[in-house]
């Protein structure tokens, strides 16, 4: 037998059992895949279905295009080439505003999928059970990538179907839109396959892959804002550079995705046999042998464990606040481009469009800041069921300290996130209006949302302490508040449905005057929910998974 044949057989041997693994992984991941695919394609379909109604005439779309043709807005949407096609193609408008976001979500779906199926399984020693079977060293990775490939094709097909009815087709545009998402999916699956070999742990493999995603969003944003080559550095940018649904539509930028994916997959397969099971190429670094003096209470621990979420909240709200603020200057023109329904959503009874949209934006900011409070409360549940809470509960800590400190951490996270959103809404609004008096308006309006944000957070905590097994309850509450905020005017929701939302009771400042009584009452409601939450924490058993 020649050396070449031996090498080939060795190569194939490392793939033994891939088919079996693939079937197993498919079964295990079906909920994950169904959830993500339905969410991505469903959300895209709903948005695509609403676009023609929202922007029926070409003049309206062109006028709207003028307002979003600023560096700040382009950095959060897409290249200027799409904007130039707004008039002739609703699809171009849709693709311009969506690809960055659906692309980023696609990336998240696939990088999490790959790390889940490879490194995370090694850490829980699930795949040890398989490795002991006649299964090749590369079979894990091959099965995971094959599954990702199938999912990527499915996603592309669903995305194409979701936008099939959009006006402005330039020749198989829907197919290209779908294929662009398949390309993003494949690239990030391949990237995660590499980071899964490099990183010391599953969590750092995710972290590295997310850094690549951050890089993609950043370079696409810079390139689109400055209208320069930076977009070409971004896998999401390549999808945008197809100029799908515009007259300049082209397919070849996706070839870049294919090349990068192939190279990354090759690298991952080369690395996987060069590392040990359960250990990455980059060894996990050693940390401190002793704790810092500050780590001396359950509350200190809670704040340390949630600081990443809090930071994510601050950064998200900084970007969101700045983005909303940047719309202030062009708001008058934007109003002209809007449909009746959109004006109805924005009308909060103020004397100017700026006042109206500020009142809406600060409520949205509050709701989005509240998301991070919900995440922090969710962390308390994880600590509890995964058994780490037991170590704290057995120490000299009252129940108000653990799990009680998670309410404190959640309130801190939502407060600082809301304040950050307010500061950057004020700053960027002032800059876009050229009028610094807006700074205090924007900030003050944001701060006035705090009682409602606190009430939402305290509700989430009370739900956690009284009904620990119903973790989804807080998300239902959040979605409901979102529906009330966004669609109350459109859907003619009954009075009681609106009354549930604390945001509805606060005055629509600056569109209306501050209603101090309402502010006091919502704050009191937040206080009551807090007391209820602590009472729940004191009375119930700890949950063990």
């Amino acid at each position: 037998m020649t050396a070449a044949v031996a090498e080939l057989e060795d190569g194939l041997g490392t793939l033994a059992g891939t088919g079996k693994l693939l079937r197993f992984q498919l079964r295990r991941s079906r909920l994950y895949l169904l959830g993500w695919l339905a969410g991505l394609a469903g959300g895209t379909w709903m948005t695509a279905a609403s676009f023609p109604g929202l922007y029926p005439d070409a003049e309206g779309r062109v006028a709207y295009g003028v307002t979003v043709n600023t560096p700040a807005m382009r950095s959060m949407t897409g290249p200027v080439e799409y904007i130039e096609a707004y008039g002739e193609s609703t699809g171009a408008m849709f693709a311009h505003q969506m690809i960055l976001w659906t692309g980023a979500l696609t990336a998240v779906m696939f990088l999490l999928l790959i790390v889940r199926l490879t490194r995370a399984d090694e850490e829980t020693s699930r795949s040890e059970v398989f490795r002991s079977n006649p299964i090749g060293r590369r079979a894990d990775l091959a099965a995971a990538l094959a599954l990702a490939g199938i999912a990527a094709v499915a996603l592309g097909a669903l995305m194409a179907a979701a936008v099939a009815a959009l006006p402005g087709d330039q020749g198989a545009s829907a197919l290209l839109f779908g294929l662009a998402h398949t390309a993003i999916a494949v690239v990030f699956a391949a990237v995660a396959a590499v980071t899964a070999q490099l990183a010391g742990y599953a969590s750092s493999a995710n972290g590295l892959a997310f850094m690549v995603l951050g890089w993609s969003a950043l370079t696409a944003g810079i390139g689109n804002a400055q209208e320069n080559w930076a977009t070409w550095l971004s896998p999401i940018g390549w999808a945008q550079l197809t100029f799908v649904y515009t007259p300049e539509q082209r397919w070849w930028p996706l070839a870049l995705s294919a090349v990068v994916a192939v190279l990354a997959v090759g690298l991952a397969f080369a690395l996987v046999t060069r590392r040990d099971f359960g250990i990455g190429m980059l060894a996990g670094r050693l940390g401190r042998g002793e704790a810092k003096p500050g780590l001396d209470s359950a509350t200190a621990l809670t704040f340390r464990l949630t600081r990443g979420m809090t930071l994510a909240g601050v950064i998200t709200m900084l970007l969101l606040g700045a983005a909303y603020g940047s719309l202030m200057g062009g708001a008058d023109e934007m109003l002209e481009g809007l449909s009746e329904t959109e004006r109805a959503v924005l009308d909060q009874g103020g004397s100017s469009i700026q006042e109206n949209i500020t009142a809406t934006f600060v409520a949205l900011n509050g709701l989005f800041a509240g998301l991070f409070g919900l995440l922090v409360v969710g962390r308390a549940g994880k600590e509890e069921t995964q058994g780490r809470g037991e170590l704290i509960a057995a120490a000299a800590v009252p129940r108000s300290g653990w799990p009680g400190s998670y309410l404190l951490a959640a309130l801190w996270a939502v407060t600082i996130a809301t304040v950050t959103a307010g500061v950057f809404l004020g700053l960027s609004g002032s800059a876009s209006l050229g009028d610094w008096s807006y700074f205090s308006t924007g900030l003050w309006a944001s701060l006035l949302q705090l009682p409602a944000v606190w009430a939402l957070t305290a509700f989430a905590f009370a739900a956690y302490t009284w009904l620990p097994r119903l973790g989804w309850l807080r998300w239902v509450a959040w979605v409901w508040l979102f529906v009330v905020l966004y669609f109350a005017n459109l859907l003619d929701l009954p009075e009681w449905a609106r009354a549930v939302s604390p945001f509805e009771h606060l005055a629509k400042y600056p569109a209306t005057d501050v209603d101090w009584l309402a502010t006091a009452l919502v704050t009191a409601a937040a206080g009551l929910l807090t007391a209820l939450g602590y009472a729940g924490a004191r009375r119930r058993d700890l949950q063990f998974s």
């Binding site: 704790a291 780490r388 170590l391 509960a393 057995a394 120490a395 000299a396």
Partner: protein, 306 residues
């Protein structure tokens, strides 16, 4: 007797499952008490009730004479706990975790902590996520033994430790006991309990089926007797205290009630004894007696091994 732990008629239900079914447990001050039972018998549930993590449905539980549910935080200053399956914070190092747990109890004795790290051969600079099961266990053990407390609640603390570390653990428990600490050691490793515990409680399906010192337990159970005689002996099988007698020429073997030893040995001495061994029952044999029916149900013929 001054009881550190006392439960009376303790009942804990999870939905339809009754985990503790009128459990009575008493551990005196300064005693190292073995808490024996297989998985699912209710050991961890008992300890979690004693820690105030679970609220009992009926009956009473007392820790240092106080209610572990109401006074949890105050009582926890006086105790340290090692769970059977230690989960650590993935981002915190072992050293950070040990210091945090120590500080939550009022302070860390650094010299003691470093000495224990040395003895358990544990690198405190590794992150929680990179420790193996045994090393996670060591983190909790170092934190517990370094604590200046009156009571140690150890729930299957040696699961995942290698025999070398098991020996270090035994040393540490003996030192704690010598320092006057009360220890409740839940385990299903008989040799460990035999080596460390003065008194033992055996739990089965949420009930304490036997409690006492090892000597007392042995007294009420049978020893294994083997002898080679010089002359045949007669009438042994009629003795009420002799069981499972097998005779092979001059070699005899039987189980024998401790109370019958005097008479039977006298009878053998008359026949003349060439060789004799008499083993008291091991804790394992005592333990298995209480689970004989379950073993029979799973296809093991006889409650006693061999």
């Amino acid at each position: 007797m001054n009881a550190v732990i006392r439960t009376e008629g303790l009942v804990k239900r999870f939905g339809h499952v009754t985990a503790l079914d009128r459990l009575d447990l008493e551990v005196a001050q300064g005693e190292t008490h073995g808490f024996l039972g297989p998985n699912g018998a209710g050991k961890s549930t008992t300890i979690r009730v004693l820690l105030g993590m679970l609220r009992s449905d009926e009956g009473r539980a007392e820790l240092f004479g106080a209610d572990p549910w109401k006074d949890a935080a105050t009582l926890h200053k006086r105790l340290a706990y090692v769970p059977g399956d230690v989960a650590l914070w993935p981002g915190l190092t072992g050293g950070e975790t040990i210091d945090l747990l120590g500080r939550l109890r009022g302070g860390v004795d650094k010299a003691k902590r470093d000495e224990l790290l040395e003895r358990f051969d544990l690198d405190p600079r590794k992150k929680g996520r990179s420790y193996s099961k045994g090393n996670r266990q060591k983190v909790a053990l170092v934190a517990a033994f370094a604590a200046d407390v009156d009571l140690l609640l150890l729930d299957e603390p040696t699961s995942g430790l290698d025999p070398l570390m098991g020996a270090v653990f035994n040393e540490c428990v003996k030192e704690a006991s010598a320092a006057g600490r009360t220890v409740l050691l839940s385990s299903h490793i008989m040799s460990e309990v035999e080596a460390l515990c003065e008194r033992v409680s055996i739990i089965r399906k949420g009930v304490i089926v036997e409690t006492g010192t090892l000597a007392e337990m042995r007294h009420f159970s049978r020893s294994r007797l083997r002898a080679t005689l010089k002359n045949p002996v007669r009438g042994l099988e009629d003795h009420a205290g002799v069981h499972d007698l097998s005779t092979d020429g001059l070699d005899i073997e039987c189980s024998i009630d401790t109370a019958a030893l005097d008479e039977v040995l006298a009878q053998l001495a008359v026949a003349g004894i060439a060789a004799l061994t008499c083993e008291p029952p091991s804790l394992e044999e005592i333990f298995l007696r209480f689970y004989g029916d379950e073993l029979a149900a799973s296809g093991v013929p006889n409650g006693e091994p061999k």
